[in-house]
């Protein structure tokens, strides 16, 4: 199948298309690499960590090339791929490299003459289905914890953006991971992805993508072998600006919070609630900022916003913009196509949005900001929580009590206070409600890749 450069609409190259038979091959290899007595199962945990560390070093070495490839395939500005995406990848792998020999079980004082301890064992063969918005970063978020804990992996990369993950596969071989530990398949969701989710020999599936497909994955897991499931899905994240906020910081952070990565972030701050006192000024400043946003060739260092990833997304976003106009939201800037070639959309801001509008409720996944007005804290918390999603949220305020109150009340897996899109390998990330199950990153990220085994030994007489 072809992979396309979204800046031009042209085909970059053809990629082998994996389907069920290829998934079967990969799962077989992963099972074999996981068998009792295999090099991977016998490897010292600290050596697993050393391999991850070496992989991070190799990726760092090839950063410039990988950033170029990422920009070609995905459309994100090169400067950002190089300065943001690649360092996040390297840091994530180094972070998990450090955990490999530190993920400890316990000895537990139980009743009776028994000696009881727990082992933290790998789950086994882990299917991982990753999205197109941050191809390399999403790959690292999945490989890091899975490999640190000793699992083997069958990974399906997004059909829109297979190239960088495939290059990383060559580095996995280069640094010395045993055969079969990591297997990477380019292919389509309904074929290769479904094959993984339904496979009887895959012990766990991790999926990042749309909530719609998340439902399918979970159903498939349930109807096949009850494989463990973790999901990172969509969001309609509320960004709440209180009247005592530092407005300049709030405007800039809110802008990045929505427009970053062409608006293609699961945690995009796509509902901006602004307290009535500062509403007009906030809107005016946000519109000015959006109008200044530089849309263009992602290889141009001045560019802030590249194209959307493909025709389908492009059409969908334009559809949402139409619905916004139709339902009476106030179009403040943008609202259309930004170039003749490629999938470029103008940075768009809607003001006076009502909670019932389609653009207020559905995930757009594009450069379209919705701004709402609110009066009180209780009201805004209620409205912010009134969504099936619960991935992220933010509060801008200088008042410590308000920050505590609002952040405690929001039903979201990450709450940013006076900032947005702060990602750290050390801190867990994941969704409440339909935004997902489970957490990635941090120590918490290890749990989904672990089976806890309790071992209880009868002893003739125990001693405390």
């Amino acid at each position: 199948f072809p992979t396309i450069n979204p800046s031009t609409g042209e085909i970059i190259c053809q990629v082998a298309e994996a389907d069920k038979a290829d998934v079967d091959k990969a799962v077989k290899a992963a099972c074999n690499a996981f068998r009792l007595g295999s090099p991977w199962r016998r490897m010292d945990a600290s050596d697993r960590g050393r391999l991850l560390y070496k992989l991070a070093d190799a990726i760092e070495r090839d950063s410039a090339y990988l950033a170029e490839l990422e920009t070609l395939d995905n459309g994100k500005p090169y400067v950002i791929a190089y300065l943001a995406d690649l360092p996040l990848v390297v840091k994530c792998l180094r972070y998990y490299a450090g955990w490999a020999d530190k993920w400890e079980g316990k000895t537990i004082p139980v009743d009776g003459d028994y000696f009881t301890y727990t082992r933290h064992e790998p789950v086994g063969v882990c299917g991982q289905i990753i999205p197109w918005n941050f191809p390399l970063v999403m790959q690292a978020w999945k490989l890091g914890p899975a490999l640190a804990t000793g699992n083997t992996v069958v990974m399906k990369v997004a059909e829109q953006t297979p190239l960088t993950a495939l290059y990383v596969a060559s580095l996995i071989k280069e640094v010395g991971f045993p055969e079969g530990v990591v297997n990477i398949l380019p292919g389509m969701g309904p074929t290769a992805g479904a094959a993984i989710a339904n496979h009887m020999d895959v012990d766990k599936v991790a999926f990042t993508g749309s909530t719609e497909v998340g439902h399918l994955i979970q159903k498939a897991a349930g109807s096949s072998n009850l494989k463990k499931v973790t999901l990172e899905l969509g969001g309609k994240s509320p960004n709440i600006i209180l009247s005592d906020a530092n407005l300049e910081n709030a405007v800039e952070q809110s802008h990045i919070g929505l427009f970053f990565n062409q608006g293609q972030c699961c945690c995009a701050g796509s509902r901006v609630f602004v307290q009535s006192d500062v509403y007009d000024e906030f809107v005016e400043r946000s519109v000015a900022r959006a109008e200044r946003r530089v849309v263009g060739d992602p290889f141009d260092f001045k560019t802030e916003q590249g194209p959307q990833v493909d025709q389908e997304q492009f059409n969908k976003i334009l559809g949402y913009i139409s619905s916004g106009k139709r339902e009476g939201a106030k179009l403040m800037c943008g609202g259309g196509v930004a170039a003749d070639r490629g999938y470029f959309i103008q940075p768009t801001v809607f003001g006076d949005v009502q909670d019932s509008m389609i653009i207020a409720r559905e995930e757009i996944f594009g450069p379209v900001m919705q701004i709402f007005k609110f009066k009180t804290l209780e009201e805004v918390i209620t409205r912010a929580n009134d969504t099936k999603y619960g991935l992220a949220a933010s509060v801008f305020t200088t008042d410590i009590d308000k920050a505590n109150f609002v952040s405690s009340g929001l039903r979201a897996g990450t709450v940013w206070i006076n900032c947005y899109n702060v990602f750290a390998s050390q801190a867990p990330f994941g969704g409440y409600k339909a935004s997902g199950n489970g957490r990635e990153l941090g120590e918490y990220g290890l749990e989904a890749y672990t089976e806890v085994k309790t071992v209880t030994v009868k002893v003739p007489q125990k001693t405390s």
Partner: protein
């Protein structure tokens, strides 16, 4: 990358002799000064002291001798590096971890040189230095490099409207006093967790063995640690060491050495500023060999335990209790096994046994051996010095040792294996625990029940089952009773280098 594989007496199995690493020819030792603020200083007093090669008696070189004034300078540097706005305090934790990984890589680069220096300074066989001391040092640095950004506090649910968090902060300036038996490795056991947690350090290596520590100073600078984070002060215990223990500006001291000096350190810490204290002290470690054990394996492991590093290990297997049924056979096989030991020049790859560290230790060990003979233990093998004028002592085996003898009670710190017999499990556990020490112990048996119940009953910080000296950076190590306070290695060490701060926010009740 480190290879999996066992090491016996520090030599990796299955490496052909032609591929074994060679010692480096050292024309002149490069680093002999005091390391403060990433710079090399001469001593305030102008004094130097010689460091000697115990295998030959030759002086290797002169080293600057630090005293109280130099310690004060080092503490001032460490304090400056610890200020709130300093590069070190502001450094992101993952970057601290990267520096530790970088240091590990540099140690790996200079591995042969460091192993050679260690051998010249301590007398330990070069291959042991290369495969055990250097391997352990590199692994320790990598392990703690991985912890730096994983030092978690908690958020805690409390009564009423408060938000409560704990922060695990660095303690501050940590003094570390290092012994001479594993100079580089013991340095890393302190340096790595201390730096991982964000502290600054003032380190005094042993006066007998300062050289590898000083070389590390050059690597600290090369790796990119900010000045003042690590300071290395060669000198004597009673002067520089005492200055550290009683310094009002040092927040914590970690000491590895004799129990006797450990007590002095703790007293000094209490009398000065109540600095936090961790101690790794002596041991009189019991091995219990049950009749159902794999006898040959027990003989070999225990011999490793007794004679490794010329017996100069806090973990030395110094009281071996053998069940009466297999006692004769055990003694016989131990003697046979001891004949495999090769005494010689530590730089020679064939050598597995080198000299004792210095004259003082030599005389103490000989004195205890003589007491063994005098008090009626049966000398089965060895029993004295090798040759007329050297620090080499024969691996020595005593049998029929009684619990009341001096060699049964006092830490010898030399190559002396003492074998006792016992009848019952109950009896031997009592006798094993009957000691002021409690560092390590070992149990040899094929019975799972016996292994679990005996290991539960022994009052030691480590219990080895069917092995000896199995040390891992991931697992805590330390003593019960007078063998020490606190734990090194593993996650547990982090607690010794952190200060817990509880932060409690009152929240507005009406919101």
């Amino acid at each position: 990358m480190a290879q999996r594989g066992t090491t016996r007496n520090g030599v990796a199995d299955k490496i052909p002799a032609s591929d074994l690493p060679q010692p480096v020819k050292i024309q002149q030792v490069r680093y002999t000064k005091i390391f403060i603020n990433n710079e090399w200083h001469t001593s305030a007093s102008g004094r130097t002291f010689p460091t000697r090669n115990p295998a030959t008696g030759d002086t290797i070189c002169e080293v600057q001798e630090a005293d109280k004034e130099d310690v004060d300078k080092a503490v001032a540097a460490a304090k400056a590096a610890m200020q709130l706005d300093s590069a070190w305090r502001k450094m992101e934790p993952p970057r601290r971890g990267r520096l530790l990984h970088k240091l590990a890589d540099l140690v790996e680069r200079d591995r042969k040189l460091l192993a050679t220096l260690e051998t010249l300074d301590t007398g330990k066989p070069f291959l042991q230095a290369f495969f055990t001391d250097l391997e352990g040092s590199i692994k320790t640095l990598h392990y703690y490099g991985g912890w730096a950004d994983k030092i978690h506090g908690k958020s805690v649910p409390v009564d009423e409207t408060y938000l409560c968090l704990t922060r695990h902060e660095p303690i501050g300036i940590c003094g570390a006093i290092i012994p001479w038996n594993f100079p580089l490795l013991m340095l890393m056991w302190k340096l790595a967790p201390a730096l991982s947690c964000g502290n600054t350090v003032v380190i005094k290596p042993a006066e007998q063995t300062p050289l590898t520590a000083l070389h590390i100073g050059s690597l600290i600078k090369e790796a990119g640690f900010p000045p003042g984070v690590v300071n290395i002060i060669p000198g004597f215990g009673s002067t520089a060491g005492a200055a550290i223990a009683s310094h009002e500006g040092i927040d914590k001291v970690a000491f590895t050495g004799s129990t006797e000096v450990g007590q002095l350190i703790k007293e000094a810490a209490a009398k000065s500023n109540l600095k936090r204290v961790t101690l790794e002290l002596g041991g009189k470690n019991p091995c219990i060999v049950f009749a159902d054990c794999d006898l040959q394996m027990a003989v070999e492991e225990i011999q490793k335990g007794a004679f490794y590093n010329q017996g100069q290990c806090c973990t030395a297997a110094s009281r071996v209790f053998v069940q009466d049924r297999i006692y004769e056979e055990f003694v016989r096989r131990s003697i046979e096994n001891a004949k495999k030991i090769v005494i010689g020049d530590p730089l020679d790859p064939q050598t597995t046994h080198g000299p004792q560290i210095d004259q003082q230790q030599f005389e103490k060990i000989i004195g205890l051996i003589e007491s063994g003979k005098k008090e009626g233990a049966k000398l089965e093998y060895g029993g004295g010095a090798v040759g007329e004028k050297s620090l080499f002592i024969h691996p020595t085996i005593f049998s029929e040792v009684k619990d009341s003898m001096r060699i049964a009670k006092e830490e010898i710190f030399g190559p002396v294996l003492c074998i006792f017999s016992f009848k019952s499990k109950q009896e031997v556990i009592e006798r094993a625990n009957n000691s002021q020490y409690g560092l390590v112990s070992a149990v040899f048996t094929t019975s799972m029940d016996r292994a679990l119940s005996v290991s539960g009953a022994l009052e030691t910080g480590t219990v080895w089952i069917n092995c000896y000296n199995a040390m891992h950076v991931q697992t805590p190590f330390g003593g019960y009773k007078m063998s020490g306070n606190g734990r090194e290695l593993g996650e547990y060490a982090l607690a010794e280098y952190s200060e817990v701060k509880t932060v409690t926010f009152k929240m507005n009740d009406s919101m």
